[in-house]
């Protein structure tokens, strides 16, 4: 393409472009696992289970650029969106366990899909191994400014006085916001009707217009509207208060112990990948977390950096799987 000849110092987009033009780049990654001792000695394909352009892809791209610089091989971002991430994982299943193909794992992929897509053809715990947690994004619980409540307690009282009349919006069935709100309903015993939208944007629109009263999403989408006063943040789903909203209590502080909902992203590899490769990749990721570019990106979205060991990530995933199993079953959550 035109932009290929146009400059030479953008290893990543050029690779993307190659792949995009005819999968030339991809053919190279699936050959064999011989050269394990010298890992990595060829480009690493990083499957991201989202369409290009979303916040998570941007985070992946930033980290990939830094990893490429540090390790001297290209990390090629391969966006494989849709289907709740199932097609991305099925694609992973077709690649050898040699550490040259990794996938960006997240709450939906690891903790929710196993429950709602039983026929996906893989087992996230048996066929995949965790590498490291990359980031946690706080989820917030907000109401439209005209809803006369100031904290979680008054919200619950308000909802209980108006049974079945209040609604909450989400970015879709089984989206992080849907799960977070169902978890809150479960913890507090209040009932509000779920109205799913196609993406955060349309959902946010109806919340801003006041047609829908409640909403839960990550910090990047909601912060500007909380600051402008259009939405009121009642509580954060994090374990501790977040620096950008120091006056907002956590759900746990508001009287619901152990409540925690965050959106998280990490790296996962095929089961059978040599442990030394996993460890090396994790250590490189931990180093990346300290690079100024990644730190700036994280700060802008008030994301909490990861970089911990594979075992820590495994324990984290196990905890999340247990947490969401209850929510998915009791909240009768289905894909979408």
């Amino acid at each position: 393409m035109v932009f290929m000849s146009y400059s030479d110092d953008f290893a990543l987009p050029r690779r993307d472009c190659l792949k995009w033009m005819g999968a030339a780049g991809l053919a190279a990654t699936g050959i064999s696992g011989h050269a394990q001792s010298a890992w990595p000695n060829k480009p690493i394909r990083w499957i991201v289970p989202f369409a290009p352009g979303g916040t998570s892809s941007i985070v992946a791209r930033t980290i990939a650029t830094e990893l490429s610089k540090q390790m001297g091989v290209s990390f090629i971002i391969d966006n494989k969106g849709g289907g709740g991430g199932v097609p991305a994982m099925q694609e992973m299943m077709r690649t050898p366990a040699d550490g040259y193909t990794i996938v960006m794992s997240h709450i939906g992929l690891m903790a929710v899909n196993p429950l709602i897509y039983p026929d996906s053809g893989y087992d996230v715990n048996k066929d995949f191994v965790p590498v490291t947690l990359l980031s946690r994004v706080p989820s917030l619980f907000v109401v439209h400014k005209d809803v006369p409540v100031t904290d979680l307690k008054s919200l619950i009282a308000y909802v209980k006085a108006r049974p079945g009349q209040l609604n909450y919006a989400s970015a879709g069935n089984a989206s992080a916001g849907h799960l977070a709100m169902e978890a809150l309903k479960l913890a507090t015993g209040m009932f509000v009707t779920h109205i799913p939208y196609r993406g955060t944007g349309p959902a946010l629109n109806d919340v801003l217009a006041g047609r829908i009263q409640l909403f839960s999403a990550g910090t990047p989408a909601l912060l500007p509207h909380i600051k402008s006063g259009a939405l009121r943040c009642l509580a954060t789903g994090t374990a501790e208060r977040i620096p950008v909203l120091p006056d907002v209590p956590t759900v746990a502080e508001s009287g619901f112990k152990d409540f925690e909902t965050v959106q998280w992203y990490g790296i996962t590899a095929r089961a059978g990948t040599p442990p030394e490769i996993i460890l090396k990749l994790q250590q490189e990721c931990a180093k990346v977390m300290k690079s100024p570019e990644v730190m700036a990106k994280y700060a802008a979205e008030s994301a909490i950096p990861g970089g911990g060991t594979p075992n820590e990530y495994a324990a984290f995933i196990a905890k999340e799987q247990a947490r969401w199993k209850e929510v998915v079953i009791k909240g009768q959550i289905k894909p979408g």
Partner: protein, 498 residues
């Protein structure tokens, strides 16, 4: 007028020779990649985004505006010349513009599309400059009930593309609507008609269907025709390439009306660019003194929808800049581009980061002008494409369509789907079913279903919500009038003329 002064400041920032050079690069790349079917502006910008981080902010904005409008415009070229819509919103252009090209008027079709895009893009950017807060309030007033009523107006507007036989047209529409229901039901999470295919969970991509039915179907039809009669259609290019006086006078009103549809609907979070092009086409057909020309190459049918398409592209920026809400894939990618430059979109944007934003808006004007300057001379070049013998041209179309569809989603499944739709398009062409209603059904059905059910959940099951909400009720009334009045009017006229 502080907006005006601020805008002039923005122009001062953006009008530097180096910046303009980037603008040309952006328009060129945008148009080129926009020409590939299946690859819309979203993917183009996503791919070019990392590259833009290496140029200064103002240059990046101008380049970016060029890519944005260029990619939105690029689709019209292939739609007109080879009936291959780059994205769903170019469908009307493919329908009418390609007929013009077959009548030897490809030059005029390309010109009216380019100038119409420029006019509408400018109107859209002007509206963005001066009316942003008002339009945002209006867009916020559009909830699920209002969207559903707007869909009802659109369903009536489909009558403009039903073709000669209403029955065949309605069959195509229904098949399209059924195909539109494939995938996970948004409200309940139930998978419908997916046959266990994970690739179908998100539904059928409109672009794949449109490219398959229009481009691949057309190529197959041509191949069949060549075999049957030994006379493939050879497209001719005759006469002047430039628009005549009557072309101008037939184009300017559709441009303005198209912009009037495109901008507000584009500004709505769930509006998109497809509805305004359909509504514009319908309006032009109804207002034309010669409605029988529509479907056979009426210039109004290119001018209006193409203007609507580009005005919608400007409209999309509205909720993005003022509310920080990305309403399309393209907008979501742009949002991350803005964030890369430290622009926090949202309610405080204009007050907190004024100069950068005004530079961006000035860049949009400049990008629009560069696009016109770049594209009008290219009309002659593009038209030469039609001199390629049809077998080669159509073989090329199939190659480009396949590569484009594969590239858009890295999905082999979608390539298979493309050819399935190609066969379907061939059969429809062969047995004289119109293709446009099918694609419209595919677009409208899921949107209408979703907004209807959202509205009903909000109203707790009260159907009256569609009629008692003022905006929604008005739209329903418009739909009803459009359905009832024209036949009555026709009857009345035939009676009085007797």
């Amino acid at each position: 007028m502080s907006s005006f002064d601020a805008l002039m400041g923005g122009f001062a920032n953006a009008l530097q020779p180096v910046t303009l050079m980037w603008g040309f690069v952006g328009c060129f790349i945008g148009t080129l990649v926009g020409v590939l079917p299946g690859i819309g502006p979203a993917l183009t910008i996503a791919l070019l985004l990392p590259l833009t981080y290496h140029v200064p902010a103002t240059s990046m904005f101008v380049m970016f505006a060029g890519i944005y409008y260029g990619a939105a415009y690029g689709g019209s070229t292939t739609s007109i010349l080879i009936k291959t819509p780059g994205e769903a919103s170019s469908m009307m252009t493919a329908l009418e513009g390609n007929k013009m090209a077959r009548n030897g008027r490809a030059g005029q079709a390309l010109a009216t599309a380019a100038i119409g895009s420029f006019v509408a893009g400018t109107i859209g950017t002007l509206a963005l400059t001066f009316f942003a807060p008002m339009v945002v309030d209006a867009a916020l007033a559009f909830g699920p009930a209002e969207y559903f009523s707007l869909m009802m107006v659109s369903v009536v507007a489909v009558s403009a593309v039903l073709g000669n036989s209403m029955l065949r047209g309605l069959i195509a529409l229904t098949v399209g609507a059924l195909l539109g229901l494939v995938g996970i039901d948004l409200q309940t999470g139930q998978a419908r008609f997916t046959f266990g295919q994970a690739a179908l969970l998100d539904g059928i991509e409109v672009t794949v269907a449109a490219v398959g039915i229009f481009a691949v179907g057309e190529a197959l039809y041509l191949a069949w025709q060549g075999r049957e009669t030994k006379t493939g259609e050879v497209m001719k290019v005759s006469g002047s390439l430039w628009m005549s006086k009557s072309d101008w006078s037939r184009s300017w009103k559709p441009w303005l009306r198209g912009a009037f549809y495109g901008f507000p609907i584009g500004a709505m979070p769930a509006g998109g660019a497809e509805l305004p092009t359909l509504l514009s086409y319908y309006t032009e057909k109804k207002l034309s003194p010669n409605p029988e020309e529509f479907g056979n190459g009426a210039i109004e049918g290119v001018a209006g929808p193409e203007a609507a398409n580009n005005a919608a592209a400007a409209g999309v920026l509205m909720p993005l800049l003022t509310l920080g809400i990305p309403t399309s894939a393209t907008a979501a990618i742009m949002l991350s581009a803005f964030e890369g430059y430290g622009i926090q979109t949202g309610p405080q944007l204009f007050s907190s980061q004024g100069s950068l934003v005004w530079t961006l808006i000035a860049s949009l004007y400049i990008g629009n002008i560069i696009l016109l300057v770049l594209n009008l001379p290219l009309v002659g070049l593009w038209v030469k494409l039609l001199k390629i013998p049809p077998p080669w041209l159509y073989a090329g179309i199939i190659v480009i369509s396949t590569a484009g569809v594969y590239g858009a989603g890295n999905s082999v499944f979608n390539v298979g789907l493309l050819f399935a739709f190609g066969l379907m398009g061939y059969a429809m062409r062969r047995f004289d079913f119109p293709a446009a209603p099918l694609i419209v059904g595919l677009i409208l059905a899921p949107m209408a279903e979703q907004s209807m059910r959202q509205a009903l959940t909000i109203s707790q099951g009260e159907w009256s919500t569609f009629f008692t909400r003022p905006l929604s009720g008005s739209l329903m009334a418009v739909a009803a009038l459009l359905l009832i009045v024209p036949p009555l009017w026709k009857q009345w006229r035939s009676r009085t003329s007797r």
